[in-house]
Symmetry: C2
Subunit: 570 residues, 2 copies
Amino acid sequence: MAEPAPTAAPQDPAVAPAAAPAAGEEGAVSKKGAKKAEAKAKKEAEKARKAAEQAAKQAAAGGANSEDLAKDNYGEIKHTTRLSSENVHLREITEAHLGKTIKVRAWIQNARMQGAKMAFVELREEGNWTIQGVVGASPEGTPVSRQMVKYIGALKLESFVMVEAVVQKPLEPVKSTKVSNFELHLTKLYLVATAPEMLGLSLAPASRAVGRLDEEEVKEEGVEGLSITDTPVASLAVHLNNPAMHKRAPVSQAIADIRIAVEDLFCEYLRARRFKRFHPPALIGAASEGGANVFSLPYFGQNAYLAQSPQFYKQFEIAGGRKRVFCVGPVFRAENSNTPRHMTEFTGLDLEMEIDEHYHEVLHMLEGVLLHIFRGLAKDYSEEIELVRTVYPSDEFLLPEPGKEVRLTFAEGQKLLREEGPEEYRNVSDDEDMSTPQEKALGALIREKYKTDFYVLDKFPVEARPFYALPDPENPKVTNAYDFFMRGQEILSGGQRVHLPHELEATIRSKGLDPNQPGIKEYVDVFRSVGVPPHGGGGIGLDRVVAWYLNLPSVHLVCDYPRTPKRLAP
Amino acid sequence: MAEPAPTAAPQDPAVAPAAAPAAGEEGAVSKKGAKKAEAKAKKEAEKARKAAEQAAKQAAAGGANSEDLAKDNYGEIKHTTRLSSENVHLREITEAHLGKTIKVRAWIQNARMQGAKMAFVELREEGNWTIQGVVGASPEGTPVSRQMVKYIGALKLESFVMVEAVVQKPLEPVKSTKVSNFELHLTKLYLVATAPEMLGLSLAPASRAVGRLDEEEVKEEGVEGLSITDTPVASLAVHLNNPAMHKRAPVSQAIADIRIAVEDLFCEYLRARRFKRFHPPALIGAASEGGANVFSLPYFGQNAYLAQSPQFYKQFEIAGGRKRVFCVGPVFRAENSNTPRHMTEFTGLDLEMEIDEHYHEVLHMLEGVLLHIFRGLAKDYSEEIELVRTVYPSDEFLLPEPGKEVRLTFAEGQKLLREEGPEEYRNVSDDEDMSTPQEKALGALIREKYKTDFYVLDKFPVEARPFYALPDPENPKVTNAYDFFMRGQEILSGGQRVHLPHELEATIRSKGLDPNQPGIKEYVDVFRSVGVPPHGGGGIGLDRVVAWYLNLPSVHLVCDYPRTPKRLAP
């Protein structure tokens, strides 16, 4: 019987776009290294051939019957099944493992027969770590039967298996897998959990850019200029309705890892500056910020509401002497907005701090934490960013040079738009809030002029801000409040808050509200109850930061379980 | 005019219980150190006296009128007010600051006149950092007037001020403040935000143990055996209705800091073990776990529900190939339970992980993370724990010796109760869940027998667990599921989950539910859609861990903004 020669399986063109760059990096070996590897592989192959010969002799001598000698080495796992070999993750395999028997748990990314006596599988683990597995009848002294090979070659894609295998060198680096310099010669394989015959979304389209962004369930579309069979794409709805497969795609894993990094970098920066975490409530007793766009629910004979922001509670923490606080958690907007920027529940990164002398202390802190995030991503997540770019192309996210951060006033932004922006913005006013297209146009102007995708618009007009925004004491038409932008899209709102109760009563009245109405009274009461120092802060939309940094077409590709007016599941 | 001699203000007995231990620690100076300090203080005082003399001479020479020479040095702050002196936090003051002019922002914890020409204030900053401030007419060459002294002596408690002051050595350490070896000779004081005449809750009762735990608004009660005037205590309701003052109390700050530490230690331990954070949704499309105790709300023409746990979503992450995940966030229970253990919204610390061979991998991970938390608290938060103990006394939280963790099966626990517990538990059954008093009785038995307040009950009966708990393959009457306890009170539920769709359908049916009913179908579909590896996890109640570790009377003292059937505000 021929032993399975270490061979590279043909690359699956469907998975290639996402898997290729990673495999390319791993596969880059020097000529010298390649020669050495080849020599070693030949030696190993010779050794294996001899072992197989001996096994065949032993079998003949012992008069083994021609039934399934390998029947205990494969099949559905039992709860008593144990393998004593070392458990190794694919990322951990090194030259030291060559010739050794290891144990691996992984998904079947691909499985196919090569003739009747050999099967190839692609095993995947921990996101996008993949390796080639080979199984041939009776190699290396361990019984492997035709039945076993057939079983393995017919495994359903995305099933989970436990295998025992000998680590070998392939004759040439395997191009289709991230681990390209080693392959696994399978000696045992147990099916831990099978996938169904047909996947609702297979890995190839899950690993590509989504098609339609709306809730239309389009399973396979062609990419522009290509036929459907070349490169099927699934709509966002299909992705989200198949959460396991959507998440298993390397691009989704990379986006999720970048999202974690953004949150961790946010917390790390603030903790180092004596900010203290707290947890604002989601359930609140009154629709605090005016009553629009708030979810309401029955609550033991009264009504409860879902918090639209942790605003009031961040301020209560300052009143409570916590000086600098931050929180990370869900906020809710009952807004019937079906856009790639909106969700009804999203993760807010919020901070609030005492101001010593000027509200720009807060602005600089927010700028600092975001720059820390951007620099941290560029430094430690280049591999993930590159992987995402193979699926969702993007220009580099331009940062200002240190000390040259771009901070325009709202009025300066409007002036720039009037003077250098598109025709339709010739008459924009300094007193009215910007529209989204206006913001994008300004973002393009600023990128051109200042070479940055990240900037601040300060001093928003009073009309465009809520009652808790402090009016500029030197120009009561504007506030000490700002928005931050990435690629022309808002990611943060913040500013200095009114901290004196009589001033707060005045700004509340100026918005047509009553300082003693339910929800607002409890808020103002806190400022009436003690002396509260000047303070300010801001709220960052986590998913927007990730989406606009990576230039993704929708925040719904970032959020772990996006919620929209039309989507509450899974 | 006499200069203000460095003097210790009489200790306020009301605040002493909480402030004393910290002050005691700081105040512990050697005899030699004290002598040195005294000499230095005398020298400083002499220097100051000379400066005052000179200032008086200058004033006389310049023919200054007898009006308010100091009028620009005190009063309400203007937005243009700036002080150029160095901004120093009270915790940062060292010998190097002696004789120097610094700027401090702080709360007025106490203010009183000493005769007509001198006033004492106690300033508080950053939780429980306090210092004595002294102001006397015309010291040290800076104009201080009688009017200014009077203004300062009459400041409302808990107002926020900005002061400029010279750091001096008091003649003897100040006992009533945490900073006991320095005092501040005020030269300027600006009122940033005044407190009202009457506080809804003053710092003394805010710093003591709460009285009644129910929602009764009892402002001042006597402590058992003492009259009300000696030691007023406020009910929990008064505390929570006065959030700023409740939070300003050193004991509240310490509890909040310990809570942050528990969360951070949880995340730190898991991150180091390749767990990845994710955010489960709060809004879900169906009452997933049977429909009892779930909040429901109208959602764009359909119904939404608030998640009772991240259970399903943790499992989706495992199905999505994330291997090990954790999350920290709010979970909701629409349960009309008015006890010190219950809240309608609480912060859950959750994890889920693939199981390689045995579900005790998960149990040991959970044990590991909790022991990491307990050891981390003991190591780095002894000061905070001691401070809490001065208000809420507690026995040391006993931990098992490493390698001697107590893990009983549920049946073993019941047996212990039957054989060694109180009379009423002689007939407890191995098939029925424990009641809370039963759990507490068992906790007392285990503390006595094994000298630990932390232990695990494993193998809960099938009847006591939800459908996703995996039955023990060798004894289908029990599950691979466990609870963890602290001082006899449950803080964690967890176990191995059913990961095969046909087994899941069977356990769902055995609970009288339909695997295809809304909410459950979407869950089972994920296991039908791909192969999902064996996995398990657990959910920890953050507030309970803190409350039971510190032996607090209620989780409502731990949560930042507790929500109960009767409380939705502030």
